[in-house]
């Protein structure tokens, strides 16, 4: 590099590429150090705590219990129920959001003013405070005065305690509410994938007389798979740790029918102060999500390599 660049520099004796490395290191370090201290350190502390029977109400009783807190996730009835509820919720919500999202994306897949305005308006639910979403549906579904509750009763779907108050319907209702908030996001991700597809292949298939369904199944869907995986992974990670909507609609009830793991962990840790057990639940969730995070990184890396090749 030219010498004028280094003329008055106190570090002039360092060659340029070394000063460049130092500069980039100084720019990058604060964020890394910050995340290590404020996120990774508490995470490590949580792993340590999870091996203890540790309640803030009896801190003196703290003692090492090995993996007991983890095995309790399956041996404890409430915890096992919570694991099952979380799995059902995640699969149902992500499945529904994917099907509806794909439908919406195909409907929006056209570059018109109408479609653009529709997309902008459809994305509004994503921006609404999740707690407010919960309250809106709680009011709409209320058995005594909610609009939906009222018309459902009119149609003979009378549920005395309302859809959210009955153990048989509460989980399905929370799934629908989650789908209301997040389907537009799935639609957007899939739409971005659709718009990136090569149009000539699809037009060729159309010219060859392929029906709309054949085009979708044989040509569009296989090419769309990366976007599909991306949407599924992202939504699975988020649905698995759902909290706000559940808290605002059912509070985990009725009869623990919607007691998802995130809610269970928060309740155990910050309400009952069973720090050891709560940490074990939280860490198990981290482990499950880590599997999906690895899949996500794998997917992103592949897309990245492809982009660099072309």
């Amino acid at each position: 590099m030219s010498s004028s660049l280094t003329a008055d520099d106190a570090r002039a004796r360092l060659p340029f590429h070394q000063r460049r490395r130092l500069f980039l290191f100084l720019l990058g370090a604060p964020a890394v150090v910050y995340v290590l201290i404020v996120a990774v350190w508490p995470l490590a502390q949580g792993i340590y705590d999870s091996f203890f029977d540790y309640s803030l109400l009896h801190p003196a009783n703290r003692h090492f219990v090995g993996f007991d807190n983890y095995t309790a996730l399956w041996t404890d009835d409430g915890a096992r129920r919570s694991v099952i509820v979380t799995i059902i919720f995640t699969i149902a919500a992500v499945g529904l959001e994917f099907l509806l999202g794909l439908g919406l994306a195909l409907l929006l897949w056209r570059d018109g003013r109408f479609e653009r305005v529709c997309l902008a308006l459809l994305l509004i639910p994503v921006t609404v405070t999740p707690v407010a979403v919960g309250l809106i549906f709680r009011a709409l579904l209320a058995p005594e005065f909610g609009i939906v509750g009222y018309y459902a009763a009119d149609l003979g779907l009378s549920i005395p305690r309302g859809f959210l108050g009955d153990p048989h319907t509460a989980l399905a209702t929370v799934v629908l509410i989650d789908a209301w908030e997040w389907t537009p996001l799935v639609a957007l991700i899939l739409l971005a994938g659709l718009k990136a597809l090569p149009t000539d292949v699809i037009e060729a298939a159309e010219a060859d007389g392929a029906t709309a369904w054949q085009r979708l199944r044989i040509i569009i869907f296989p090419m769309l798979l990366p976007a599909v995986f991306l949407a599924l992974i992202l939504r699975t990670m988020d649905a698995f740790r759902v909290f706000d909507i559940v808290f605002a609609t059912t509070g985990g009830g009725p009869a623990d029918a919607t007691n998802v793991l995130m809610f269970y962990a928060v309740k155990q840790g910050l309400q009952f102060f069973n720090v050891g057990f709560a940490s074990a639940i939280a860490n198990s969730m981290v482990l499950v999500i880590a599997v999906f995070a690895v899949a996500l990184i794998f997917l992103v890396r592949r897309a990245d390599r492809r982009a660099n090749e072309t």
């Binding site: 720019l27 990058g28 964020a31 404020v38 921006t127 309250l135 159309e206 605002a248």
Partner: protein, 274 residues
């Protein structure tokens, strides 16, 4: 592929979209309208579309809640989180994008991984740490924890923006005697302005809409509006009408911001998530 689609098909398609729009927007419109309904009108069955609007719910809200204080808290928390996340996140993203060492890609993925950690895993230990530091109940605690997730988001998103910039402009500037910081600040940064706007929008949105972290890290005087909204539910004297009025203040600012900056919002959703 739309060239040969018939008018009928197009109408059917748009009608379905309109139907979807109604499903996705009606609950929000309903929330807005109940705020202007008198108590007796909310309970009228079947629900009436025409009613005499009233502002009594809003005067109730101002009576029961210190709205300026709640909005102030929400603003401090979201702007603080956004500022801190951008301050540390943007330079880091630049450094990762410009570094030639291969291991920096791993650091970028580390930030992506941090973003996927469920909040409760850090919240419980962090809560105990803040308690022993005496920071429980302060805005600092909320901002600090928020900024881990949003800084990770900023790094990952801006990393992709900086990488799509050609290096040649900066390299030319450096040979012409521009300082390294100047190359970052005056050349690279203005070129990624759309990314910065999208990041700011998302940091503010995360923090403004979040419930879990401030619910446990703030106290009554420092709580943001999202926490007040839920705690209002079940309070004596609080009707659905007052909740609707309160939700105006918690929901509408972010919805408007996202609509106003829709281009950046869509960019952030499609680009920032992966």
């Amino acid at each position: 592929m739309s060239r040969r689609v018939s008018t009928q098909a197009l109408i059917a398609r748009r009608a379905t979209l309109v139907f979807a729009l109604i499903i996705f927007l009606a609950p929000i419109l309903w929330l807005i309208t109940i705020a202007y309904k008198a108590k007796r009108d909310i309970f009228t069955m079947p629900p009436e579309l025409l009613f005499t609007p009233t502002l009594s719910n809003f005067s109730d809200v101002f009576k029961f809640f210190d709205i300026p204080e709640l909005i102030g808290s929400s603003l401090i928390i979201s702007l603080g989180s956004a500022a801190l996340s951008l301050l540390i996140g943007v330079p880091c993203a630049y450094a990762l994008a410009r570094s030639k060492a291969r291991w920096t890609v791993g650091v970028a993925y580390f930030f992506l991984a941090v973003r996927t950690v469920p909040q409760v895993a850090t919240l419980i230990p962090f809560y105990l740490m803040m308690r022993s530091l005496g920071l429980l109940g302060t805005w600092w605690a909320v901002i600090m924890l928020n900024a881990t997730l949003s800084a990770a988001f900023v790094v990952w998103m801006m990393y992709s923006y900086f990488r799509s910039l050609p290096r040649e402009v900066e390299e030319a500037a450096l040979t012409d005697g521009c300082s390294q910081f100047g190359a970052f600040w005056r050349i690279a940064l203005p070129l990624v302005r759309p990314g910065i706007i999208a990041c700011t929008l998302f940091c503010i949105m995360f923090a403004w809409n979040d419930y879990l972290i401030p619910a446990f890290l703030t106290r009554t005087e420092t709580r943001p509006i999202s926490v007040a909204l839920l705690s209002a539910f079940g309070m004596l004297d609080i009707t659905w009408g007052t909740l609707g009025a309160l939700a105006h203040f918690s929901t509408i600012p972010v919805v408007l911001l996202a609509l106003l900056l829709n281009r950046y919002f869509v960019q952030g959703l499609t680009r920032g998530v992966h």
